[in-house]
Amino acid sequence: MTRADAMGVLLAFIARLITGAQGHWKGCPPKAEQRIYFANHQSHLDWVLIWAALPRELRATTRPIAARDYWTAGRFKHWITREVFNAVYVSRARTADQDPLEPLIDALNNGDSLVIFPEGTRSNKGAPQAFKSGLYHLAQQFPQVQLIPAWIDNVQRVMPKGEVVPVPILCTVTFGAPVSLTEGEDKRQFLARARNAVVALQPGATPEVAAA
């Protein structure tokens, strides 16, 4: 076992200890197919939680997206995203001649699965913000890849914005049924439908007040 593998096992253990990281596979079984998971984004821990909720054999081929300028800045940050999580780096600064989705497309052509947060930024209002269009473009270009919606519950209570130490509180990741682009559907419709699919997975009995 390499240092990166050991680190991965340790991180998954900590995530399970603190949050339980239970995965509820409601709409689809955990299978080794090429997939794009898209989820609500409320905390820095979201990625680790989805990753820990996946069965171990799927973790190696499921990759997060990381902002290049931030996650390659320090040696440790670079090592952990490159070696442990095998992240796909994207640059936030947009240049005219380059498609920002290019690294994602490369990864998908490579056969990897991705986890994306289509809101683009963390929201703490409870309901997710409108989705960015990247998901639509990927759905267009890769119709054979399954798009799995996921709802991450409770994570904003574990580590609210501005805090660094997580509080042990149980979280769940609920995976729904695959969503696919239908014939002739335009971008707005598809993104709204994808967002609704994520929101519909929210555990019904959990009152909204918790999010405050």
Binding site: G20, Q22, H24, K26, D153, N154, R157, P160, E163, V165, V167, P168, I169, L170, C171, T172, P203, G204, A205, T206, P207, V209, A210, A212
Partner: protein, 325 residues
Amino acid sequence: MILWLQSLGADQQVQLLFVTLFGLLLLVSAGAALHALRERNSLQEDTHQRFKRELRATWMGAVVFWAAWISGPGGATLLFGVISFLALREYITLLKTRRGDHRSLLLAFFAVLPLQYLLLANRNFDLFSVFIPVYVFLAIPVVSALAGDPERFLERNAKIQWGIMVCVYGLSHAPALVLLDFPQHTGRGAFLLFFLVMVVTVAKIAQTVASRRLRRRPVARHIDRSFSYRAWALGTVAATLLGAALFWITPFKAGQALAMAAIAAAAGTLGEFVMSALKKDAGVRFWGNTSSVTGAVGLLDRVAPLCFAAPVFFHSVRWYFQLKP
């Protein structure tokens, strides 16, 4: 028979206890496996599933208990510390907290809980009994006030204080029994814990069975539909008699065992009743229903009677026998 048992050393007695316990469980499991071969309708299937879950939980409990014994006082303390952590995690998940509680929760999980169990491992029983009700009682609201959120301040602090009292203070008294030293009874603390667990469990089971059979009017239907005074009394009496019958494994005489068992059984069943009120307040219908509510795992439900019974039992024993740590 009893004379022969008393002639054995403490270690041999404990071993015999576990052989009996696991033997019984094996018999029940084998019976259940045979029973599973029969065809069932959906209602029976439901009951069978529930029975299987309960049986698995009992196995887990027995294994935890055995692990606590073979790993000695230090291991028992650590083990119950972990269970405390998991129970508190579940409690906090279900009772919603606000952003301003973050620091108080960190204090509860990462300072209060380990300190309480450290005090226990060191056998500082005096400080162990007052650390949470006296010192933490002040520390939590101070940290909470420093967070600067006055909204529902009392309610939020009460939730955290309660969680600490039940999941940390209450549960830490179970391994404390193992460390309690009776004169002429050293090395047999495990029996005291076993006595408590048996009495509380039997009280719970007898109460459930009695309420099924009797179908009395519930005392508080909005809290627990199956709780009636008669079922509760029957459960407590059954557990008390069992406790009296088990007196020879404890340092008590028969009469003392009867009284102690009555105290433990009453505290455990009433504690469970209080816990169901808490569940209703938190809006949880069933524990263990992982699909609808984040956090309802069911551990808290299993340890709740012990959380309430252990401190009452521990302090009754300690006070009555004037034990010096």
